[in-house]
């Protein structure tokens, strides 16, 4: 019954399917949510660019049939910053993993949020480095087993929404790969929001994280999300730590207004130079 075209054929590179992600991995579901959000946001598809870093989630860009960039490890955000600032007309989306965006790319993450560069960052958090075989990541909760924490993790993991809010993000939300309609809605809002917008998506990694911790397969992980997740819009981001196998607080936590990098730049230069200055971001408004 394959005669009909897949509804996402216009957005996905179907000539590259099947993709590389494992059975039960949540990244594909997140991509579906993103594809639906793109349709709902109504932004012209030619004016959207997707940037990924390295890792399992770093492969997302390669499957999106838009201008898409698979960059170096941790550098998706500064690459995206260059794209966006060089052409403010583009909607620039970064989709990558927790290790890529928050560990090796952590410095770029906080500074892009501080500058309020108008990019959308969708972080797929599977609690470990999956592409390299399941190592300890910046989000691995204590005492999860990974190949580099064979006796259990003991470092304190990042609370990503708190980090994003503290750094200056104007939109912060968290969902799981199970809460896909709400995730889609958040992604749509983020796409239409002006400024640094961040959505964390908790997703299963059955092959590595779940297997090493004997948590079952992808479906078991979705059932865990079902049982342990709580929607709490506007929750205090300081209280959003995810402890091992404990509750996952989801929702939209931050939605505020702050001048973007280009808006602030235009305001400053207009004050200084007056009419001699031609606003840089004029095409974006």
């Amino acid at each position: 019954m394959n005669e009909a075209a897949h509804p996402m054929e216009s957005i996905l590179r179907m000539d590259r399917m099947p993709h590389i992600w494992c059975p039960g991995c949540g990244i594909g579901t997140v991509v579906t949510a993103f594809a639906m959000a793109l349709q709902q946001a109504g932004i012209p598809l030619d004016k959207i660019a997707v940037v990924s870093g390295i890792g399992c989630s770093g492969r997302v860009a390669g499957y999106i049939k838009l201008d898409s960039f698979h960059t170096t490890h941790g550098r998706a955000i500064p690459f995206a910053t260059g794209l966006k600032l060089a052409n403010p007309e583009l909607t620039v989306v970064v989709i990558s993993g927790d290790g890529d965006l928050i560990a090796i790319g952590g410095n770029h993450f906080i500074h892009a949020a501080r500058r309020n560069v108008d990019i959308k960052v969708f972080c797929i958090n599977n609690f470990n480095y999956a592409m390299t075989g399941g190592q300890l990541g910046p989000t691995t909760p204590e005492p999860a087993i990974t190949t580099t924490s064979p006796y259990g993790a003991f470092e304190n993991p990042f609370n990503l929404p708190f980090l994003a809010e503290g750094s200056g993000a104007v939109y912060v939300a968290r969902w799981t790969a199970l809460h896909i309609r709400r995730l889609t809605k958040s992604m749509t809002e983020a796409l239409l929001k002006k400024g640094f917008s961040f959505v964390e998506i908790i997703a299963p990694c059955p092959t590595l994280y779940s297997r090493r911790n004997r948590l079952g397969d992808g479906l078991d992980e979705l059932r865990h999300y079902h049982d342990k997740s709580v929607i709490k819009h506007g929750a205090d981001t300081r209280e959003l730590d995810i402890s091992y196998r404990d509750k996952i607080v989801m929702g939209k936590f931050v939605d505020r207004e702050r001048p973007t990098f280009v808006e602030a730049l235009d305001k400053r230069f207009t004050e200084v130079f007056g009419k001699k200055y031609e606003p840089y971001g004029k095409v974006a408004t």
């Binding site: 590179r13 590259r16 598809l45 030619d46 004016k47 660019a49 940037v51 860009a61 390669g62 049939k65 838009l66 201008d67 898409s68 960039f69 698979h70 960059t71 170096t72 941790g74 550098r75 955000i77 500064p78 690459f79 995206a80 910053t81 260059g82 794209l83 966006k84 600032l85 060089a86 052409n87 007309e89 583009l90 410095n107 770029h108 500074h111 500058r115 990098f261 730049l265 230069f269 200084v272 130079f273 001699k276 200055y277 031609e278 840089y280």
Partner: protein, 387 residues
């Protein structure tokens, strides 16, 4: 194509090399700059930051050099001519994304105002110790282009040249200045925009659904046509080994094609890219090969040598990479010996020895940096080489 008059500060100016470099970038059409402060290169960024607002450019000071390099690649794909500036320690951080620039064939310019190293080394004093790093610094096999100015005027001229070459060959181009040239102030003549040739990347304009980002059309010197993000071609670009479609392909055949072309497009066009200056080479028995600030000290040594009746000439590298292999081989056939003068313990001399390949003697005047050579030391070496 002629330069956009908006960025061209036509007239005679008294500028240091760093400021002249910034003016060169503006004249070349650079309208995106991302950088991180580092001595002795910071004045380039400072001048760009003050000049950009009224010429429609965007300056952003990034959180580090990793980010700066990544940002100029992103900006280049958005269609802007982009540049970053640094010195040794920052250059080391940029290597990661210089590799991405080479692999994805992204036009961009990286200026390195060299200081003494290794590590933090001599932040305020000169060196030419990043010459090999410029060529080999990122992992894997690739080719880049590097130019070496020896005066503020050349900092202006060669920065334009660097942009032209990067747009033409879709490759990161390095402007390898040094602290002396960067901080030396001299007259710089900036011509009218109508007299400045600038090259803009060739863009694909065929059917949108048929665009292959890495397909080489015949007659374009192994350089594929580019498309800018937002123009509707919906292309995919990756740092992974990729086929004509830009899709990752993990096998030896595609790797061979991909890497070979990255190298061939530079080595195969070396005749078009290579620039050098020859001084009194006719009949010379000894040729001093040098570049950057060292060439100016060498000039004094050559005057002293000639006063002593020695037959000596100078060959100045303007492009260090690709190395002017063909011309050096010709010279090696004719002369008794070649002397390399550079502000390092021996870097480009390896390339010189490779090309000379025993046809003449090769001497090195090494210097660890921190100051320039003493012309008398060079003279002594010339005398030895002439024996």
């Amino acid at each position: 194509m002629k330069a956009d008059a908006k960025g061209v500060l036509t007239g005679a100016h008294y500028l240091d090399g760093d400021h002249a470099c910034a003016e060169g970038a503006l004249a070349a059409g650079c309208r995106f700059f991302a950088g991180y402060p580092i001595t002795p290169s910071t004045e380039v960024a400072e001048r760009i930051a003050s000049r950009f607002p009224l010429v429609g450019g965007l300056f952003v000071q990034m959180e580090d050099e990793l980010a700066s390099m990544a940002a100029i690649l992103g900006a280049s794909w958005a269609g802007k001519k982009s540049m970053t500036v640094t010195s040794g320690p920052g250059f080391s951080l940029m290597m990661e994304n210089i590799g991405l620039g080479a692999m994805t064939e992204t036009p961009c310019v990286i200026v390195n105002v060299q200081r003494g190293g290794p590590s933090t080394g001599l932040p305020t004093l000169p060196g030419q110790q990043d010459m090999m790093q410029a060529r080999w610094g990122s992992h894997g096999d690739y080719e880049i282009i590097a130019v070496v100015p020896n005066s503020p005027q050349e900092c202006f001229d060669l920065t334009i040249e660097a942009f032209n070459l990067s747009e033409k060959y879709r490759v990161p181009v390095m402007v390898m200045m040094d602290e002396c040239v960067g901080h030396m102030t001299e007259r710089v003549d900036i011509p009218a925009a109508s007299e400045l040739e600038v090259y803009n990347r060739k863009l694909y304009d065929g059917p949108k659904d048929q665009y292959l980002p890495y397909k080489v059309e015949n007659g374009n010197g192994q350089v594929p046509l580019m498309a800018n993000a937002g123009d509707g071609y919906r292309f995919h670009i990756t740092g992974l080994t990729h086929d004509e479609r830009g899709y990752p392909a993990m096998n030896a055949e595609v790797q061979q094609q991909c890497v070979s072309r990255l190298m061939d497009k530079i080595t195969g066009n070396a005749a078009d890219i290579c620039r050098y200056e020859e001084h009194r080479l006719k009949g010379a028995e000894v040729v001093v090969v040098t570049y950057g600030i060292s060439s100016r000290v060498t000039m004094r040594a050559i005057e002293l040598a000639q006063a002593k009746g020695l037959s000596v000439g100078m060959f100045r590298l303007i492009t260090a990479w690709p190395f002017p292999e063909k011309r050096i081989k010709e010279l090696a056939e004719k002369v008794k010996s070649l002397v390399m003068v550079e502000l390092n313990m021996g870097q480009m001399v390896h390339e010189l020895e490779r090309c000379v390949a025993g046809r003449a003697k090769v001497f090195l005047s090494p210097h660890a940096g921190g100051w320039v050579h003493d012309p008398d030391d060079i003279l002594k070496l010339i005398q030895e080489a002439a024996k």
